[in-house]
């Protein structure tokens, strides 16, 4: 038990980080039927803003700023790159998302000069070391899963018990009919991007406390794995995304612990292929019924 414990703790923490990103994918997919490829890069930008903001201003100003700017970025991306394509074929939207992803990466490349930016002022308290059952680890490792669960509970409440949540559910069920019923569809879509970006920003803060260096490709791997988590859990389903993320995080770390370090990434993507072949709707995915 003592031997596998650090791997489990770390796996749950990694899973929590994936979960925060995966929710962004799954929310947007649920409503727009769009895989928002730019989401991983929004995550990376949040990390970069954190690096710059924490060096320029005190922590209590810097952290809210990271959240606000990231949310604005998500909102802007939707308004500029996706909204004009609302009635276009879904493929155009997807291509636009890929375009946005590369645009953000290259802008970040221009600003950082392509050199990884070290996090020189990590967030205090959560970046300190603690002892847990005789194992040393950073406090953020313990905070991440707890915070993730709290945020997910809040999100599920928002979706099930508020007016905007009801509008989101309606839009997810049937886009056009929801519009006919008087739901302001643009506001609802903007809201999903705002929530997704907010969670990505929180995820970035936790992630870049643990791995303190932000490069322009930092969003790539976590983004891809979160996407796999969303698909594994059933894309469109929030609990699915969270469960999927924790499963992937845990499996990866356990595989590393078993000594198959070379294959830890391969496992994640092999899982994606298996899920798509065997159970395309994922663990909790909705059943697709043909509309007549």
């Amino acid at each position: 038990m003592q031997e596998i414990l650090p791997y489990l703790i770390n796996g749950i923490s990694v899973g929590g980080q994936y979960a925060l990103i995966a929710i962004g994918y799954t929310l947007v997919y649920g409503i727009l039927r769009l895989i928002n490829f730019a989401h991983g890069d929004v995550f990376m930008v949040a990390g970069l803003i954190m690096v710059y903001a924490t060096t320029a201003m005190p922590m209590y100003l810097a952290l809210p700023l990271v959240l606000v700017v990231t949310v604005l970025l998500g909102f802007l991306i939707e308004r500029v790159a996706y909204k004009p394509l609302r009635s276009a074929p879904r493929m155009s939207l997807m291509i636009s998302a890929i375009g946005v992803s590369y645009l953000i990466q290259n802008l970040a490349f221009y600003i950082t000069g392509g050199v990884p930016q070290p996090v020189t002022n990590p967030i205090p308290w959560i970046s300190e070391n603690v002892e847990l059952f005789g194992q040393s680890t950073k406090r953020v490792t313990l905070v991440t899963p707890v915070l993730t669960i709290l945020l997910v509970v809040a999100l599920v409440y928002l979706i099930n018990h508020t007016k905007i949540g009801m509008a989101m559910r309606a839009a997810a069920k049937d886009f056009e009919t929801a519009q006919l019923m008087g739901i302001k569809i643009n506001a609802v879509i903007s809201m999903t991007f705002v929530i997704g970006s907010f969670l990505a920003a929180v995820g970035a803060m936790l992630y870049f406390t643990n791995y303190p260096s932000v490069s322009i490709t930092s969003g790539g791997m976590p983004g891809l794995k979160a996407f796999v988590a969303a698909v594994f859990g059933g894309i469109g389903s929030i609990p699915g995304a969270v469960v999927g993320a924790f499963v992937i995080g845990l499996c990866e770390e356990i595989i590393k612990g078993l000594g198959y370090t070379t294959f830890s990434d391969a496992f994640t993507f092999a899982l994606l292929i298996v899920v798509l072949c065997v159970r395309p709707t994922g663990l909790f995915g909705e059943k697709v019924t043909d509309k007549v």
Partner: protein
């Protein structure tokens, strides 16, 4: 209206494309500079972006400083102005050939670089075909020079560096179990791990080797693997970026052994990232600050007077070994040009094997393969209070 806007947009984009091409045309070998002297071009083939970006930039700094100190050279009785042609090979071997071809097109007489062995080998093929000689500054993989006749090198090689580190770990630190960590697909990492393992096992130690995929950020489980294997040292000859992440993870997991690094770890950022952490980091390198006080003072003054240089050096004026090697490489290239008596790459290539030069990092003389004859490395350790490098000892191979 919409069509008109779209058309206008297309026009603007096309125009910007053309504008982008404009700056790169022109330029022949007979061009004269403002001072009226002829110009000789030295190609700088270095990564400025990607994982090795920080290291590449520091190496370029040494060449730029050397160019500032000695901007002209006498070739065949005429004074030439030396112009550095800098290209970015972006760290990865896929981008190497394009960057190398770019240098060949700019009519360079000799090439310096690259930081990183994989990308050097990728460029070597292009230089070989074009008949342009190249001097590897800090690329330590033996294949760089053995595979390409046009490639020479002024630093020690991995078959020396790996065993030197192994001797240090086994005899200096008294460790019998070592854990190695390398990136998959990196010629440099895998090569060094191979030589280290060979030497460490020959001394009687055991080695556990693991790999991580490119882009990995989470080293916690690797550190845990090293701990449960009872390894006294973790040897990770990885790029600067990963080095910082490994230090972070080792500190968070309370790893008590030593982290051993290769020449790539010799970077200000790596030393700074150990500040306030309970870790022990030791690296092999080409030069230790203080080895030549006059040189140190001169380059520090230059770095402090130049904002770009300071940024590229990681925001302070610590002298990295790769910078000093870049400086020596520049002067070695000038010696080669003098010996050739011509700016023709072919003549320079023929003159290079017999070139000798006494640089800041020691005497440079090439053997049959084109490698510098070196038999000792500096070992230094990161000071966790000041974030600077402290000298430990000069290490040879046992």
């Amino acid at each position: 209206m919409k069509k008109l806007t779209a058309f206008a947009l297309c026009l603007v984009m096309t125009a910007s494309l053309l504008a982008g091409c404009g700056g790169q045309s022109g330029g022949t070998t007979d061009e004269t500079s403002e001072s009226g002297n002829k110009v000789v071009r030295i190609g700088v083939y270095e990564p400025q972006t990607g994982d090795n970006g920080p290291g590449g930039k520091q190496e370029i700094l040494g060449m730029q400083y050397a160019n500032y100190v000695q901007p002209t050279v006498e070739i065949g009785g005429e004074t030439y102005d030396v112009k550095l042609e800098i290209v970015d090979n972006r760290t990865t071997p896929e981008n190497g050939p394009t960057a190398a071809a770019e240098l060949v097109n700019r009519d360079v007489s000799i090439v310096l670089g690259s930081y990183g062995s994989g990308v050097s080998m990728a460029g070597g093929k292009v230089f070989e075909e074009a008949g342009v000689p190249a001097i590897g500054v800090t690329c330590t993989n033996p294949q760089v020079t053995s595979d390409y006749d046009c490639y020479f090198r002024i630093c020690f090689t991995d078959p020396f560096q790996g065993p030197a580190l192994a001797s240090y770990a086994y005899e200096g630190l008294g460790v019998t179990t070592a854990y190695t960590l390398a990136m998959l697909g990196s010629d440099y990492d895998q090569g060094l791990v191979h030589y280290f393992t060979e030497a460490f096992e020959a001394l009687g130690g055991t080695v556990i080797s693991e790999d991580f995929p490119e882009g990995n950020a989470n080293f916690v489980s690797y550190i845990n693997n090293a701990k449960s294997a009872g390894a006294g040292v973790i040897f990770a000859p990885v790029s600067t970026n990963y080095a910082q992440l490994i230090i972070e993870a080792a500190s968070a997991q309370g790893y008590e052994g030593s982290l051993l690094g290769s020449d790539t770890w010799d970077n200000n950022k790596v030393a700074e990232s150990t500040v306030g952490k309970n870790v022990s980091v030791e690296v092999t390198t080409f030069y230790q600050e203080g080895g030549d006080p006059d040189f140190d003072a001169g380059i520090k003054e230059w770095i402090n007077a130049n904002d770009d240089a300071k940024t590229n050096n990681g925001g302070n004026d610590m002298v990295a070994a790769v910078t000093v090697m870049g400086y020596d490489a520049y002067f070695t290239a000038l010696e080669a040009l003098k010996a050739a008596g011509s700016t023709d790459p072919q003549a320079v290539l023929e003159a290079l094997p017999s070139v000798t030069y006494d640089g800041v990092c020691g005497h440079i003389e090439f053997d049959d393969i084109g490698d510098a004859k070196r038999d000792q490395a500096y070992i230094k350790t990161a000071n966790t209070e000041t974030g600077a490098w402290d000298f430990v000892k000069v290490q040879g191979v046992a």
